[in-house]
């Protein structure tokens, strides 16, 4: 891992909402092609941490460098940085006013990354990849949760990002739809995508993650391989958490 290029480098990250400090100094390095799963109890700051990785939250203190962009620097072009960082949300957030293929084409076309024809072709390829080619002209309201999330992944991939962030991508899904979304994510991981995944799916973390980070109350409590963290945790808080969820 040491030889790999570092895609995400976080040093001393702190984030406060008013007087409430949610992240209390976090240091994380993510190498190219790594799949890092963030686990921990609700309110531990996992999602906030992830949202700092593409500056959806402003950074109170510390340094966040993602794909060469220093997000803690207010002078950088944040839009340019975000083009390389795909994000998938718990509640999908598909654009309700656009159909599936338009959802996917919007950013590449608007940001002049591709012509309409190229974006359409790329969009259809991505839809085929997530198994939804036949839904291209359908509006998001007509899709199931699992389908929405797969479209959301395709939409993020259309920008050819170097990094994908997943914020509890399966938490809002009915149980029978979790598998189809995790399958797509496993495929991405296999293709070497750098991924940071906030998740409650311990099975996924065990199978796919190159590293698992257990967070609680705004700090990293324990990190290591899935073997280490999930099967042989050493910290009492990790053991306690895993006992509750497994």
């Amino acid at each position: 891992m040491e030889n790999r290029e570092s895609k995400i480098s976080v040093k001393g990250l702190r984030k406060s909402f008013g007087h409430l400090e949610v992240l209390k100094g976090m240091d994380v390095e993510v190498g190219e092609g790594e799949v890092v799963c963030l686990i921990g109890p609700s309110g531990s700051g996992k999602s906030t941490f992830l949202r700092c990785m593409n500056a959806l939250e402003t950074i109170t203190a510390g340094e966040v460098i993602v794909d060469g962009y220093n997000l803690s620097d207010k002078k950088i072009n944040i839009n340019k940085a975000r083009e390389n960082i795909g994000m998938v949300f718990q509640h999908f957030n598909l654009f309700a006013n656009l159909n599936v293929i338009q959802n996917i084409m919007l950013a590449p076309v608007e940001l002049k990354k591709m012509t309409k024809e190229e974006a359409h072709k790329k969009g259809m390829e991505l839809l085929a990849m997530v198994g939804l080619a036949e839904k291209a002209e359908v509006y998001p309201s007509k899709l199931s949760g699992g389908q929405k999330q797969r479209v959301a992944i395709a939409r993020a991939l259309a920008m050819n990002p170097d990094i994908m962030l997943f914020d509890e991508p399966t938490s809002a899904l009915d149980p029978e739809m979790v598998g189809e979304v995790l399958e797509v994510m496993k495929g991405l991981a296999k293709d070497g995508m750098t991924m940071v995944v906030v998740t409650h799916e311990m099975g996924f973390a065990r199978e796919v993650a190159s590293r698992v980070i257990f967070m609680d109350e705004g700090v990293i409590v324990e990190e290591g391989t899935p073997q280490e963290v999930l099967l042989h945790p050493t910290q009492p808080r990790t053991i306690d958490f895993l006992n509750k969820v497994l």
């Binding site: 839009n79 340019k80 975000r82 509640h91 957030n93 006013n97 950013a107 608007e110 940001l111 309201s141």
Partner: protein, 218 residues
């Protein structure tokens, strides 16, 4: 004189005045839409200074009766600057400033009714704020806003009657002119009331139909 005779005699004149009323309403609403969009966007911005500017405008306009605003624009400003405004111009300015403040609130409420995940998802793809607003949030917000905009249309249409005080020949002024000639106070005001009623009822029925259509389309 009977209603029928009054209508035969003054119908065209009153219809023309109704036309003027609608013209004034439509023009004012077009300007009000721009004013409303401008201040509405300032209001939902993350910039505190923008929020304050929008709120000052909205509070000032809503805190002053339209008739005072119309007097101020039509009589006050020419006194101070020496520039005389036509009644139509003064009318459009006062009405659009007034309706603009309410439109700003409609725009704000419309934008805020859209789940903020929509904006976040657009931004996360690298779209700048303005583009995300234009391509994703506003198209959805406008759907939500349509019934309120039609309501504002109705309110502004009724408010045009206030501009009879600055001599603009809208429907109420036209009624006063006719009554000054024939003294048919009771029947004439009844006719004018019915004219307003027909136009406004048609509009509010349209608003309700659209509202139903929009909530179904969700």
């Amino acid at each position: 004189m009977s209603f029928l005779n009054l209508i035969m005699e003054n119908g065209l004149f009153l219809l023309a005045a109704m036309g003027k009323t609608l013209e004034l309403t439509l023009l004012s609403l077009v300007f009000a839409a721009f004013i409303g969009l401008f201040f509405g966007l300032l209001n939902v911005s993350k910039n505190r200074a923008f929020n304050i500017i929008a709120n000052i405008y909205i509070d000032c306009i809503r805190g002053v009766p339209l008739i005072v605003l119309a007097f101020f624009v039509y009589f006050g400003i020419p006194m101070a600057t020496g520039v005389r405004l036509e009644a139509l111009t003064a009318g459009i300015i006062s009405l659009s400033m007034n309706a603009g403040a309410y439109m700003a609130e409609i725009v704000r409420a419309g934008i805020q009714s859209i789940d903020k995940g929509q904006m976040e998802a657009a931004r996360s793809l690298g779209l700048p704020y303005g583009k995300a607003m234009r391509k994703v949030v506003l198209p959805q917000a406008i759907r939500v806003m349509i019934p309120s905009i039609i309501n504002q249309f109705i309110i502004t249409l009724k408010d045009t009657s206030i501009l009879s005080v600055i001599g603009f020949p809208e429907l109420v002024k036209a009624g006063q002119i006719v009554i000054a000639r024939n003294f048919e106070t009771f029947r004439m005001w009844a006719i004018i009331a019915v004219m307003y009623l027909i136009v406004i009822t048609t509009l509010s029925k349209t608003a309700r139909a659209l509202e139903r259509k929009i909530s179904h389309g969700k």
